[in-house]
């Protein structure tokens, strides 16, 4: 990614508030009609420590809509692409051959094969974002632990949260510039 994009969409997820209820998963399934048995998002539970000194971190995970997306680079047909002016990574089903190079290229294992054979993944609910709405997972979260917005706008809630709280990224060493931020 060379030129600076107009929008840098990110999700900021507060692991302190997340209870791991999975409504993000069901909300996504319904919104996007994700076929039975496939998941565009999921919740990870990480347990550290020894009884009785234990901590649990809960994280709602999905595509990181990386600034430097290896899946897009790996795609031989241009089916995997970055939406113009943004960092939302999408798959054009009409161009996808199902070669699976993008699946192998993704360090986060977020992609999968749809029953028809093309590659499916989280779209950050691009169709909702276009309308100025939050992605479905964010909009249904009962604890309001998920936030979506534009990090290029310093006044957005996500920018402010990142400015005021400690956070972590998933596998930043993979060098892809992931855009899911987990507040600690």
């Amino acid at each position: 990614m060379t030129a600076k994009q107009k929008h840098k969409y990110a999700m900021v997820i507060d692991t302190r508030k997340c209870v791991g209820c999975g409504n993000c998963v069901v909300g996504c399934k319904m919104e996007n009609r994700v076929p039975e048995g496939l998941h565009r998002d999921w919740v990870v539970e990480e347990v550290h420590g020894t009884y009785p000194n234990i901590s649990v971190e809960l994280r709602s995970e999905r595509c990181n809509h990386c600034i430097n997306p290896p899946c897009v680079y790996a795609c031989p047909t241009g089916a995997s692409h970055v939406k113009s002016g943004q960092n939302i990574t999408l798959v054009d089903r009409d161009k996808c051959t199902g070669c699976k190079a993008c699946i192998a290229a993704c360090p986060y294992d977020v992609r999968f094969i749809m029953p028809e054979g093309y590659v499916g993944k989280c779209t950050f609910c691009d169709h909702r974002v276009e309308q100025g709405l939050d992605p479905a997972c964010v909009s249904v979260c009962p604890t309001h632990c998920m936030h979506f917005g534009d990090l290029n706008n310093p006044l957005s809630k996500v920018s402010k949260l990142l400015a005021s709280r400690k956070y972590k990224l998933l596998a930043p060493e993979a060098g892809t510039g992931p855009q899911l931020y987990f507040l600690l």
Binding site: W42, V44, E45, P70, A74, T77, K95, G98, A174
Partner: protein
């Protein structure tokens, strides 16, 4: 004790519990692609260097195998493609960042080049077949004969690229730490060449040709052993994620298959056999090259599987 689990029942087909997107088809494709590269490189070099008389099989009938092997390999690749109706999409775009895209275009070049190499020498290599053609394709044959030298030069370049590509295809996928080593390109090229040399040893008739190719295969095997060891060393001395991934063959689940079956039976055993043979011991000429071919195929199975077992995210 630390635990990490996905708690919302994700069991995405081919993704969970670990990546299984590529089964037997891709290793077979990579093997046959490498073999094709090796064959074309041998044939083209033989022709280019004017050694056709010395090595008649390498310059002749061996090249017939190239398009067949490649077609079978591409057949396997096609079987692996999930959206078969869209396969034409490989040829409606060229993506400079995608080795897969490079590969699909290179494959297109290989067919006409191998055809020229075959037809350019068909009168000598397969006179009976030429008779059967009964004049059909004479213009094409004449064209091939005319441009044989140029074609062999181009083929040397294209075949080398093809051989390297079969390795780069994996090594470019940085998300899989076990593949994340640029030396995979040379290794796959060397391995492809080695298997092609072995194939020629099996198929060639002339004693001195067999002897010559056995000797060269010995060098290739040595080179492969060295590069594979370099690959293991580079992962072991790389970032933590690489070190983690190489544990798979250094004490992990794939240790035995890698060191005993691939390294042992696929490389060291034929190396020893060929040295013994060179020293004059009587050994069937088929054993060492057969082991090399087996090793080459097994190597690709191991690589494709091992890469899919490693990743940045362990759940």
């Amino acid at each position: 004790m630390n635990e990490i689990n996905i708690i919302t029942g994700r069991m995405n087909h081919l993704i969970d519990p670990h990546l299984t997107i590529w089964g037997w088809e891709i290793p077979v494709y990579l093997f046959l692609g490498g073999l094709t590269a090796g064959i074309l490189l041998i044939t083209a070099l033989t022709i280019y260097l004017g050694k056709e008389r010395e090595f008649p099989h390498a310059a002749g009938r061996l090249s017939f195998i190239a398009p067949i092997a490649l077609s079978v390999g591409m057949g396997a690749l096609f079987l692996d493609i999930e959206y078969k109706l869209h396969v034409f999409r490989f040829y409606t775009a060229f993506k400079i960042t995608s080795p897969m895209s490079w590969g699909s275009w290179i494959l297109l070049l290989v067919y006409p080049l191998s055809l020229i190499l075959i037809l350019g020498r068909i009168k000598i290599s397969c006179p009976k077949l030429y008779e059967k053609l009964n004049g059909r394709g004479d213009r094409l044959i004449a064209f091939s004969e005319k441009h044989l030298h140029l074609a062999s030069a181009i083929t040397i370049f294209v075949a080398t690229t093809l051989g390297i590509y079969t390795g780069i295809l994996l090594s470019s996928l940085g998300a899989r730490p076990f593949w994340n080593a640029s030396i995979l390109g040379p290794i796959f090229l060397i391995s492809g060449l080695s298997t092609a040399l072995a194939l020629n040893v099996i198929l060639a008739q002339e004693k001195h040709e067999i002897h010559f190719f056995s000797k060269y295969d010995l060098f290739m095997i040595l080179a492969e052993i060295v590069t594979v060891l370099l690959f293991v060393i580079s992962l072991s001395s790389g970032p933590q994620i690489s070190q983690e991934s190489v544990k798979l063959i250094l004490g992990g689940d794939m240790t035995a298959i890698f060191w005993v079956f691939f390294m042992g039976f696929g490389l060291v055993a034929p190396l020893i056999l060929e040295i013994l043979e060179l020293k004059g011991m009587k050994i069937s000429k088929y054993i060492a090259p057969a082991l090399v071919l087996f090793g080459g195929l097994l190597f690709r199975f191991i690589m494709v599987e091992a890469g899919q077992l490693t990743g940045y995210i362990g759940y």
